[in-house]
């Protein structure tokens, strides 16, 4: 330590609890650019929040995103005034873009939790530079997702009937309904994600408090830092809490989308009623989530010059995850055909025929292109290490996952059992305005986040430095 001129206050140094004796050649390549020290990391990341002049691009971006929020407000107001008839849903198709968007957003959220929790437990250190960002994304995606189930009911002012609470009607919710399970799954997910994100932020909030020069800023960060002083006891508690939350989040990664998939799998509509839906949906969610992380991280690292922290190694790893989960999803698509054809069930058979040749065939083909073909580029290192191609593939997957939900929800509902009741579904202006509005909400929150909170975990980044490793202490002596 003596060799470096480190000015970092002592409480910002994470005490090293591990005593590892591993030869240097077995150490992983550092997931941080060369030439960084505790000080430079802290400076670089905290400066984005505290000192750097707010770039004009941020204002423009926020303004556009806030326009979306305005559109969302108008859409919601009109929805409450008129009723959900302003959407394109109808009699065979009771769920349309409301549920498509809900599942899409929830799916996107999954990457954050996966990165924070599962990769933490698996000690994948490369996660460190993207986890804060991904967690924020999760939270905002869940916020956007949550709008839909709350507003898609015919009488949203009675939504609270879905919660089990003692009431004068003497009625419980119906616990057999997957929508009921959804209420628990999503609300738990939102709570744990928020806690996880916030707990992870505490040490960094303290850093910002200490580095802020403006008294009001200092107080604001100080309030949220909950009196963090970085004592060993604090770190101990922190580590325990963080690990516990990671443990709590881990099953959620699997459970939330499993339960979302039950909304469909439990029903008996051809195209919904399938036992493989839970793993299929979870894989799809991770797939969608990583695509969204890439979509956000690639421009952000460029814009905030974070190439040293979010390195090509990160991007490449995410590309690999994209490929792996994409293959699971394609396997599920293929299985649908297998079940449909092998079962000899007339309804399943027609459902597939209708997907491939019916009125929504174009969307089904587009789905295969986006989710089936595009990720195959990730087999090649050349594409995996090109930010351009990564971004392109990620965009394909974003669109593809939306199409997947479209194919599953309205395209299954519109032609089910009795041909007399078949119909068509088209999103209306208000369907799209809600969707665009929810994207606006998501980005507004994201813009505020990158401006007012450290988008990369400062203290965790510091642990990535060779100096923070136990053995490097020994070598230094």
């Amino acid at each position: 330590m003596a060799t470096t001129k480190d000015t970092t206050p002592v409480h910002e140094v994470r005490p090293v609890t591990q005593e590892l004796r591993i030869p240097a050649r077995y150490l992983p390549t550092p997931t941080i650019g060369p030439g960084h020290s505790f000080a430079t990391i802290t400076d670089h990341i905290s400066t984005i929040v505290l000192r750097r002049k707010t770039p004009i691009g941020w204002f423009i971006g926020l303004l556009i995103a806030m326009g979306g929020v305005g559109l969302l407000s108008i859409s919601i107001t009109w929805l409450l005034v008129k009723g959900i008839g302003i959407w394109g849903i109808n009699h065979p198709v009771g769920w349309g873009m409301d549920i498509i968007n809900f599942v899409w957003w929830i799916g996107i959220g999954h990457a954050g939790t996966l990165i924070s929790a599962i990769l933490l437990l698996l000690r994948q250190e490369w996660r460190t530079s993207i986890n804060r960002f991904a967690e924020a994304m999760t939270l905002f995606a869940v916020a956007s997702a949550g709008l839909y189930p709350a507003l898609h009911t015919g009488r949203p002012w009675f939504d609270y009937w879905l919660f089990p609470y003692p009431n004068t009607m003497g009625l419980w919710p119906q616990f057999r309904s997957p929508l009921m399970w959804d209420v628990f799954a999503v609300s738990t997910y939102a709570t744990v994600s928020a806690l996880f994100w916030y707990v992870g932020l505490i040490p960094d909030l303290a850093t910002l408090r200490d580095r802020a020069t403006n008294i009001w800023v200092k107080r604001a960060y100080g309030a949220f830092a909950l009196g963090w002083r970085g004592s060993a006891k604090h770190w101990l508690r922190y580590e325990h809490a963080y690990l516990l939350l990671a443990g709590l989040s881990t099953p959620l990664v699997l459970s939330v989308h499993t339960i979302v998939s039950f909304d469909f799998a439990v029903a008996q509509i051809p195209g919904w009623h399938a036992t493989f839906f839970p793993p299929y949906f979870v894989a799809g969610a991770v797939f969608a989530g990583f695509a969204m992380v890439l979509t956000l991280a690639i421009p952000a690292r460029k814009f905030f010059r974070l190439e040293d922290f979010i390195t090509m190694k990160h991007l490449e790893n995410m590309g690999k995850v994209l490929l792996a989960t994409g293959l699971i999803v394609v396997y599920a698509y293929a299985m649908e055909w297998f079940y449909g054809l092998y079962s000899g069930n007339a309804f399943e058979g027609y459902m597939l025929k209708n997907r491939a040749t019916g009125p929504y065939a174009k969307m089904y083909v587009a789905l295969w292109v986006c989710n089936g073909l595009a990720p195959q580029l990730m087999w090649f290192k050349r594409f995996r290490t090109s930010t351009f191609w990564l971004f392109v593939v990620a965009m394909f997957v974003n669109v593809g996952m939306w199409l997947e939900r479209f194919v599953i929800i309205p395209a299954s509902l519109h032609r089910d059992f009795l041909p007399s009741s078949w119909g068509m579904y088209h999103g209306t202006f208000w369907d799209w305005s809600m969707f665009i509005g929810s994207i606006g909400l998501f980005f507004s929150l994201l813009f505020l986040f990158v401006r007012f909170l450290p988008m990369i975990s400062i203290f965790e980044m510091r642990t990535l430095l060779p100096e923070a490793q136990a053995h490097s202490h020994e070598e230094a002596h």
Partner: protein, 1005 residues
Amino acid sequence: MSDTKELNFTDFRERIGDLRGKEYWRSLEELSRSEVFDDFFHSEFPQQALALDKGVDRRDFVKLMGASVAMAGLTACRPPDEKIIPYVNQPENLIPGKPIFFASAMPLGGYAKGVLVESHMNRPTKIEGNPDHPSSLGASDAFMQASILGLYDPDRSQVVRRTGEIATWSEFIGAIQPVLAGAKANGAGLRILTQTLTSPTLGSQMQALLTQYPGMKWHQWEAAGGDNTREGSRQAFGSYANVIYDFTKANVVVSLGSDFLDEGPGHLRYARDFASRRRVRHGKTTSMNRLYAIESSVSSTGSIADHRLPVKPSEIARIAQEILACVNGGGATTPFIAALAKDLAANRGASIVVAGEEQPPIVHAIALAINQAAGNLGATVMITDPVEVAPVNQLESLRQLVTDMNSGAVKALIILGGNPVFDAPADFNFKGALQKVPFRAHLSLYYDETSMLSQWHIPETHYLETWGDARAHDGTVTIMQPLIAPLYNGRAAIEVLGALIGGMDATPYATVRNYWFGRGANETSWRKTLNDGFVAGSAAPARGGSVSGSIPQIAPAVASGIEIELRPDPTIHDGRFANNAWLQELPKPQTKVTWDNVMIVGPRTAQEIGYAPEERERLVNEKRTRLAEIEYRGVRMMLPLWVVPGHAEGTATICYGYGREQGGRIANGAGFNTYPFRFSNALNGGAGARITIPARDPFKVACTQEHQSIDPKDVGERGIIRETSFAEYQKNPHFVHEGGHELEKVHGKDSLYPEFEYKQHAWAMAIDTSVCTGCNGCVVACQSENNIATVGKEEVVRERELHWLRIDRYYKGDIANPEVFHQPVPCMQCEAAPCEPVCPVEATSHSEDGLNDMTYNRCVGTRYCSNNCPYKVRRFNFFQYADYDTPSLKPMRNPDVTVRTRGVMEKCTYCVQRINHAKIEAEKQNRRVKDGEIVTACQQACPTQAIVFGDMTDPSSEVAKLKAEPTNYTLLEELNTRPRTTYLATIRNPNPELLASAPVLEEHH
């Protein structure tokens, strides 16, 4: 309000009634000064009355205005002044919450169909058929069911108008005096135009008028009248005669373009009788009747025929003649006619040939000649004297009137009902001629196209508001008694004629009563007549008659262009029901189109004029179709083109009645006015039309069913419709269970949840698809019984119609002439209902009787239940569809059924209000509910008794017996939903000879 004080509403109403609008507010003070008003006011609105005593400030004035409106409503909704007699043995005093039924009759086209009207606290709410009336037998059609909405229609004309300005009845009486005085000498120049009349009272009044004014002339016009039938009878018998049929005795029925099951004065009776020979019950049925239909457009009758021959309209006469020749021993040119003639010959005296009103008189005459040759006259086909008061050729009658109007011979024209400006033949230019008449008065329900052009308009009373009489299709005298005092001070035709005769004080009640008392009625018989709704044994006696005269040889039609057939619309008739939203939103039986009239062609014709099947499929899937331009006799019009499989090629069917401009807010702007195609020398269409498809944006069509194929090649083997021939059925009655749709019977252990136990009842329904004609009576009955809202064209286009009961229609076989199947689909009330477990708030749950109850006020509207319902019978209120605001619609609603709000799901309940009513009655008497005690609205309406409802746990119940039939099957049985609603397979009785000779039809659709 206190019981001791008798309020004289009549007094109020009379005070208000004859005042002009501007005087109304001034008269409020006058009213407030009256003693009765004060009493009423103090007891009803004590606070406001206090304010009134002190003098009225602004706030209280507003309240007072509100109160006066409320009272106006109160006075409007009151019982008729005269004694009306309830049906059968019901208490005559009002019990709040208990409906009382009254017998009356609904006239349509002059003929009466007996009705029973359900009345809640003096508000008629529902129409049923009168089980004893010969034209109804308890059944009802869509028009009857929807007439209750017609009564409460807020767009009905409410005031007397003089050139559009509000006037009064007494002013009108004053205004006609000089006219009558001018006509005093001999009545020349005075004309009365009525619709078809069978009413003896009106007939006697007309007679009295004609005696009083010998020079007066009486004209008749009914757009969808019976001219051809009438003239055909004259051609056959030399004088007008009424022909009635007895389908219970007919083994073979031949329809020459006739929709006798769904149109005409006796159709309900005919459908019931026809169905009685068509029901197949295991071990009981040894024979079925056989129906041949030769027609151009697909009618309800044709759609259930055993053999249907689509031909151009012009060919029907020639085919009829060939059948006649064959029956007389001649040879046939086609196997179809040969087999048909052979069948007729084999069933001498037990067959019926019936011609449709759209066919020219000669076809009717030939049909009667065939009946005579086949020995049916007097056996299955009865001839009676005409039922109408004065049968005339109405077309000639109207022509005479128009000629006289144009020549200036008509000084005063009084039009009683009808809307000739809208529906007279195009070449008459009735509109222009009418304006040449110096004095024009029009009595009608609406301030319509004709009223607009009349100096005087008098609002007409609805048939539920006034006394009257009419005859049924067989001549049975039917007395109409009012259920409610006129809502808007309307006047009946009887009153107008009474005023012309001079007896101004004669009320309809007095007039009708005096008429019948003058003809031997006494108090006892009068009471019985009112109680029953008709005079028993008053049917016209059968008379002899033989077809005389030679039938001229009919030359084969010369083909030129496309032929068109003009028909009254199946749901809004000749346009008179255009402002009835229930009928507008009712899917037409064959096209399933609502809110519009379309030009119907066959599939090949469509292709020939450039409407390819692929394009059609694509557009129809999006509820669009091409607009086609039709040119016929110099009239060009753009109409939406619609293809109906089985429609005769080279022919287009166009319905009239749409395109109203002055019909009310529902009627205006819906559909296209096709009356310009009706020429006096070709009222029902003709040849020489040309159809082209110009490049235009597709037209939005609110059809409710775009997919009708059940071909396994298209949609997989689904087993939705199961059918066979009678011969095959006799060989293998269990055929329905051999299609591979049966579930392995593992009941009891196939669910984690315990089975439901039914200790009391298990309600169930069986629907015999063999006899369903797709007539729609049940659909409107359900709508009326259950307060189902209409949603409008745009919402139907978005597939949001609310009908709890729909009639699915499927095709099988050759697209040029397919078999048609009708399948009414109410809620299946599944034992293992997919809707129940998915509702997160338990708004839909299993009742102790096994119904899937829907708790509206618990529903938050996730629509999950609808998604998961394989039968898609659940209906969602995407907007606030039910009209909470229109005051006149409020008293119409069934008080036993909730009016749903926006955001909740609704669906068929098996009329749970009727079930509960019967259960309560049974419990009071400490007994079980008897079989047949509960009748659902759809079941009650059904003319063919296709729907049977009852308790499944009672093995002797009708429904349990039907479920034990081998032909009983479950829709989508493989899903193991175990529905309570099941179907009996469709069994038809094709002629084996024709089956053998028919080509194997490969083309499927």
